[in-house]
């Protein structure tokens, strides 16, 4: 093995965040206690669709300890609507319903009392008179010409529809030996963090500042909150030092925060809302993509896939936030790792009377990968080719980079074949086949699953202008400020909160790497939004690239300043200096040197020793634009979506008990390449966790609704989360293809595992079912779904 070029990057290091968590000293939003704080309980709509005829709050208000009962109508009059993400101005969304409710669980009134228990008591006394209205719950029914409209003013249940054609699709299909069409569906699930959403707000009449502590992971949250509350941006101070108890995309509690902020200002008292679990599941607006794919692949006898037609219909629920854009990110990896020459992509977001959808880990990429990979398996089965050989045949080669895909994104680097081969080797693939066959011989159903997939990373916002020409966002920058104080110790500031990604560890490792200073001596703080530089938050697997790049950029300015001070004082040119461990010396003249402490002291105290024109002190910022970003889409909808492209390949062995139809995952290997890993333990941790999420999506998790629109999975008894009894031991095999676009060659990995595991597990289940002539093309593959598929295969058609 070649020696690492890095001092600290890529090495095992304890995450600096961990100690506070294992000692019970985390600082979560629900831990905020402010003198005089009031508490909210919510009144939610029992109906998926209803007219609010009247709300009688008199009994609730009469209860001792109750301060106010807020209705949706009052809130609407005093706040601005939240943005729908696409150009649909009639699809208005406020934190609480007024006039009509559009999903069961939608907030109708908020009771504020001295304690949460009192607020809940009073909430039971709020009398709402509803007139039930027809509800449209099935997305396909919502598309019918006479469908009930969720937002009649919008005129349609379709909130977004665009048909992209990239390359000679018709021509390619005409030249293909075969085409194969299939439908797969991805069930509504979410990452469901164990911490529900919590937010506390405090308004100060004198300063005119609203302080906000929220379990938030959201780009431009302070700006959006200020806008909705009709406040100036500098009147909202979001405290990003709140520890966020898991998010993986979904902690976008803008409506919660607007509600609480409004009440805190109205009452002049600190106010807090902590969702209970049912509020979170039903009314927290954090359910994920809910998609039906109709796909046709065109391919040759030898297995070469030439073209793909994909139609995706996504049920976003009753209101829109970021959700339609989750059809947009997959545009940046629409062909996966394959050399598919042309693509037709018909993307449609439809509204129903269900809980609204929000961003979930991967931002729509996991469902699309599942749809593509299922098709690859189907082509292999159709042509009677080996699934692995078929993938190899179609994969982009390691010498083909940068590789421009039909939809306009250039993949930066990769070696897909090697990563897949490493995964197969680690799984002892030949032995795995024998193990599968032995299980089959012993009466079990058993199957092996394979998947490969791209992990676009570096989180840009190119899907915004792609899906809404009125939105000309072309930067999604992130920033870091680094300072060296008079004592010589280093502090870095970031401008967003963290929900488990160990950003303090990542930034201190990067700063330490550049300055040659011990990372554990470097403090990293989360500045509040009025003290912070701009950030777009840890979405889109972006922080190793963007925050890491910004931290490196700011630190290099500091280092350069130290070198300039040294050159000036040692009387030599910059090129004659060596920087080692923070100290500077003249090349080949070791006696001519200045120590770290001496250089820091000059910067802070000795203006007379500074080069002319240099600012005193040691503090630098760097704001980094997403590499490869900055461009608007072309007229035919081609755009560079994300800059960097990690890759993963999964190999899975499952068995299915033929009696109970329960799936057991017996072996799990993931080959993974995210370039240079800054913190390998963190990358591996997120990958393990992503695989567990994917296992849940593949086998267990679903926000099921009744035909009337009632959520049937509002507790963890019905919405099943994988425990250590379901998640197997997982082997991760690393590979490193550095990105040419980033400081250290790093790529992103926050969505790793989750993007490829549902496809792999589904592939394994279908391999197992194939011996019975059965198949399943929808998730989750629950025991009941498997039982049904086996019975359908048995009974004559």
């Amino acid at each position: 093995m070649s020696k690492s070029p890095f001092r600290f990057i890529g090495k095992h290091r304890r995450a600096v965040e961990h100690k506070r968590f294992v000692l019970g000293q985390g600082h979560f939003a629900a831990d905020i206690q402010i003198q005089g704080m009031l508490h909210i309980a919510l009144v939610a709509s029992p109906y998926a669709s209803a007219k609010i005829k009247s709300i009688d709050v008199s009994q609730a208000l009469a209860m001792p300890g109750v301060h106010t009962v807020l209705t949706g109508e009052e809130l609407r009059q005093n706040t601005e609507a939240m943005l729908p993400g696409v150009d649909a101005p009639q699809v208005t969304r406020y934190p609480m319903a007024f006039d009509v409710t559009r999903y069961a669980g939608e907030w109708v009134a908020a009771v504020v009392a001295d304690t949460r228990a009192l607020a809940e008591d009073a909430a039971e006394l709020v009398m709402v008179d509803y007139e039930q209205l027809p509800a449209v719950v099935d997305p396909q029914e919502a598309l019918l010409p006479n469908a009930t409209l969720v937002h009649p003013a919008h005129g349609s249940n379709v909130i977004f529809h665009r048909h992209f054609v990239w390359g000679p699709v018709d021509q390619d299909f005409a030249q293909c030996d075969h085409q194969l069409s299939y439908r797969v569906s991805w069930a509504r699930n979410a990452t469901v963090p164990i911490e529900t959403f919590a937010v506390a707000c405090q308004w100060n009449d004198s300063t005119g500042i609203l302080d906000v502590w929220a379990s938030i992971q959201m780009p431009k949250f302070p700006d959006q909150m200020a806008k909705a509350l009709r406040l100036t941006g500098n009147a909202v101070r979001v405290h990003f030092d709140v520890d966020v108890g898991g998010s993986y995309g979904v902690k976008r509690g803008l409506k919660h925060s607007v509600l609480v902020g409004y009440l805190a200002k109205k009452l002049g008292r600190p106010v807090r809302l902590v969702e209970d679990r049912l509020e979170n599941m039903r009314g927290g607006d954090m359910q994920g993509p809910d998609r039906i794919f109709d796909v046709t692949l065109g391919f040759q006898n030898n297995g070469e896939i030439k073209s793909m037609r994909m139609k995706a219909v996504d049920d976003i629920g009753a209101y829109s936030g970021r959700s339609p854009l989750q059809l947009g990110k997959p545009v940046g990896a629409i062909v996966g790792p394959y050399k598919i020459n042309s693509v037709s992509y018909d993307a449609m977001a439809v509204m129903t009377h269900k809980t609204p959808q929000e961003a979930v880990r991967g931002f729509g990429q996991a469902p699309t990968n599942y749809a593509i990979e299922t098709g690859i398996d189907k082509v292999a089965r159709f042509l009677k080719l080996d699934r692995i050989a078929l993938r190899r045949l179609n994969m982009i080669g390691k010498d083909d980079f940068p590789y421009l895909i039909p939809s306009g994104t250039s993949y930066d680097s990769g070696d897909y074949d090697t990563v897949m081969t490493k995964a197969l080797n680690a799984a002892s693939y030949e032995e795995l086949l024998k193990e599968r066959d032995a299980l089959r011989a012993a009466g079990q159903l058993a199957g092996i699953g394979i998947s490969t997939c791209l992990e676009p990373s570096g989180g840009n916002a190119s899907f915004e202008p792609l899906f809404n020409p009125k939105n000309e966002t072309t930067t999604w920058m992130d920033s870091c400020l680094v300072r060296v104080d008079l004592s010589g110790s280093v502090t870095a500031l970031m401008g967003t909160s963290t929900s488990g990604q160990a950003h303090e560890t990542m930034v201190s490792t990067v700063v330490g790497e550049v300055l040659h200073r011990e990372p554990d001596s470097i403090r990293v703080l989360h500045a509040d939004s009025l003290n912070a530089l701009p950030s777009n938050s840890p979405v889109g697997s972006r922080m190793a690239i963007m925050l890491g790049g910004a931290a490196a950029g700011a630190t290099k300015k500091i280092k350069n300043k130290l070198l300039q001070i040294a050159a000036h004082n040692l009387g030599v040119a910059l090129e004659q200096l060596d920087y080692e461990g923070g100290h500077v010396q003249v090349k080949n003249e070791p006696e001519k040197k200045l120590s770290w402490d001496a250089l820091v002291e000059i910067a802070h105290r000795k203006f007379h020793k500074l080069p002319q024109g240099m600012e005193p002190g040691l503090q630098e910022k760097f704001v980094w634009e997403v590499p490869s970003g900055g461009m608007l889409p072309t007229a035919d909808g081609r755009v560079q979506m994300y800059p960097c492209h990690s890759f993963e390949s999964h190999v899975v062995l499952v068995s299915i008990d033929p009696g109970t139809c329960k799936v057991t995952v017996r072996k799990y290997v993931c080959g993974h390449d995210c370039g240079v890993m800054i913190s390998p333990d963190v990358v591996h941790g997120m990958t393990y966790g992503g695989i567990a999420h994917g296992l849940g999506a593949a086998l267990m998790e679903k926000f099921a609704f009744s035909p009337e629109g009632q959520l049937l999975a509002g507790t963890f008894m019905d919405y099943l989360l994988p425990s250590s009894a379901e998640v197997p031991a997982i082997t991760i095999v690393d590979h490193c293809t550095p990105s040419p676009l980033t400081e250290f060659g790093q790529k992103g990995s926050g969505e790793a595992g989750y993007l490829g595991s549902p496809a792999a597990i589904a592939s394994a289940v279908n391999d197992a079912l194939s011996t019975q002539g059965a198949k399943i093309d929808h998730l989750p593959m629950t025991p009941q779904a498997i039982w049904t598929a086996l019975n359908d295969a048995k009974s004559p058609a």
Binding site: I194, D681, G689
Partner: protein, 163 residues
């Protein structure tokens, strides 16, 4: 329906070695009592219906869901929360130390409950197998780690201990 003093119950609980004598509403859950009355916010609330295990504490040395019992039911009992695991301030137990070493946590929200589950396991079985660890922590849901590094941490702590 409102809390009035006549409805309050007097309870005596020993929490992390400190005797507490408090008046509580009978409907106050043990976890709300620990967090809101005692200010020990290390114990977390996840589902409030006994599935996720985030609120797990030791009650007379047994792991229990503090969301699924009332504070009055813990009268005259001993409670240990995550804040009380370490032998002294700022010092970590071997399991806590191993969680840091093996990256057995990410967001840290399930961690206190998970640590209680692991300490309860190791108290009964100082040298568990990997399978026994997986079985023991199946009581607690973690959405970040996929459990792998938690298992690694407990194995690391307990294997090193025996040598």
């Amino acid at each position: 329906m409102t809390a009035s003093n006549t409805l309050l119950k007097s309870i005596q609980i020993q929490v992390n070695g400190t005797h507490q004598h408090r008046l509580v509403e009978p409907r106050t859950s043990l976890v709300d009592f620990i967090r809101d009355e005692l200010g020990l916010t290390g114990t977390h609330v996840g589902c409030e219906h006994g599935v996720c295990g985030a609120c797990t504490v030791l009650l007379n040395d047994e792991p229990v869901r503090s969301c699924c019992m009332f504070a009055v039911q813990a009268d005259e009992m001993r409670v240990t929360t995550v804040e009380g695991l370490a032998p002294e301030r700022g010092v970590m137990t071997k399991i806590q130390d191993a969680f840091c070493e093996k990256h057995a946590l990410q967001c840290g929200y399930c961690t206190p409950g998970m640590l209680i589950a692991c300490h309860a396991l190791v108290a009964d079985n100082p040298h568990p197998t990997e399978e026994q660890v997986r079985d023991a922590i199946s009581s607690n849901i973690c959405r970040c780690t996929g459990y792998q590094q938690i298992v690694d941490a407990v194995m690391y702590a307990t294997q090193a201990e025996g040598k």
